[in-house]
Amino acid sequence: MIIRINGKEENVSGKININDLVEDKGLNQKRIVIEHNLEIIPAEKWQAVSLREGDTVEIITFMGGG
């Protein structure tokens, strides 16, 4: 299924929740915020949110800025 991750369409196979996605991408879980279809999902709920065709996921972190 196609999911839009950080603005890019990605083909993701099988049943997958947000936690799987974060692990697959090898991201440091403490450093990121996940927004799923414009809703912020706290880390403790990542397992519970399954991804569906056409979903939008934003994976955000802090960087230097003024």
Partner: protein, 257 residues
């Protein structure tokens, strides 16, 4: 009595605020913060880039600092609110610098959308510091909306052109009760001294420090200039006049008169 700047529920000693963008090496940020003593520090948010290193700016900011995420990248009020929510969820705290910029050439802010975002975020309990084009009516409305400070620009972001908005900011200092913090475009320590002498409450500098040859030394110079300008403001300026006023006795003693 100690001269503290009150913003939200914090008392701030150091009126030099630092932005953390554009540093070639993130590790310098900690040294810069130490050298300058800056307490309020801005950060931004961005999409994770899986190809880049795991290095996180927050690792380089000591716990004593007050984090202020900006809403850089927002082009309207809704996007700014969305970014503020993400910043809070990510542990960035509840201080937010609202930056709504639809213009990519001069990076000038949209005051109307900034006001809208301020109204929403204040109601949600954020400590809101809006970055604006200096304008008295906007500043008054922001104050009414509960903004914790107003941050007029000195000149376009990153331009290092200095305090070009002085005449309007002077009016804001006179008319607005919440702190006035000049943000953007301040290129040299003399620029920030000028802001502080005028009675501004603080300044925020990023580019001029980050891209200087020696950011640590530059940050210290800025911080000292902020202190000097503040002291001068508190002391009150001596009047200026059109003609000379001798500061030594002019009565001659080497000749007969």
């Amino acid at each position: 009595m100690e001269d503290l700047l009150r913003i939200g529920d914090k008392n701030i000693k150091n009126r030099f605020f630092l932005g953390t963008g554009k540093f070639s090496d993130k590790r310098i940020v900690r040294e810069v913060l130490e050298a300058s003593g800056a307490e309020v520090v801005t950060v931004a948010l961005r999409r994770v880039d899986a190809s880049s290193s795991d290095e996180n700016i927050l690792d380089h900011i000591p716990g004593r600092c007050i984090l202020m995420a900006n809403t850089s990248g927002a082009r309207n009020a809704d996007e700014a609110v969305r970014i503020a929510h993400i910043a809070k969820a990510g542990g960035g705290g509840t201080w937010i610098k609202i930056e709504v910029i639809p213009d990519n050439k001069y990076l000038l802010p949209d005051n109307a959308e900034t006001l809208k975002a301020t109204e929403i975020l204040v109601k949600e309990g954020f400590t809101v510091l809006p970055y604006v084009m200096p304008d008295l009516i906007t500043a008054k409305r922001l104050e009414e909306a509960g903004a914790a400070a107003v941050m007029p620009l000195g000149s376009p972001i990153g331009s290092n052109r200095g305090f070009k908005t002085e005449e309007i900011v002077r009016i804001l200092v006179d008319e607005i009760k919440v702190p006035i913090i000049v943000d953007a475009g301040l290129g040299r320590p003399s620029d920030v001294a000028q802001c502080m002498e005028l009675g501004c409450d603080a300044v925020l500098v990023n580019t001029a420090v980050a891209i200087s040859r020696d950011p640590v030394k530059t940050a210290r110079a800025f911080s000292l200039a902020v202190q000097a300008g503040r002291l001068s403001y508190l002391a009150g300026h001596a009047p200026s006049g059109e003609y000379a006023e001798a500061s030594s006795p002019l009565t001659g003693f080497l000749r007969e008169e």
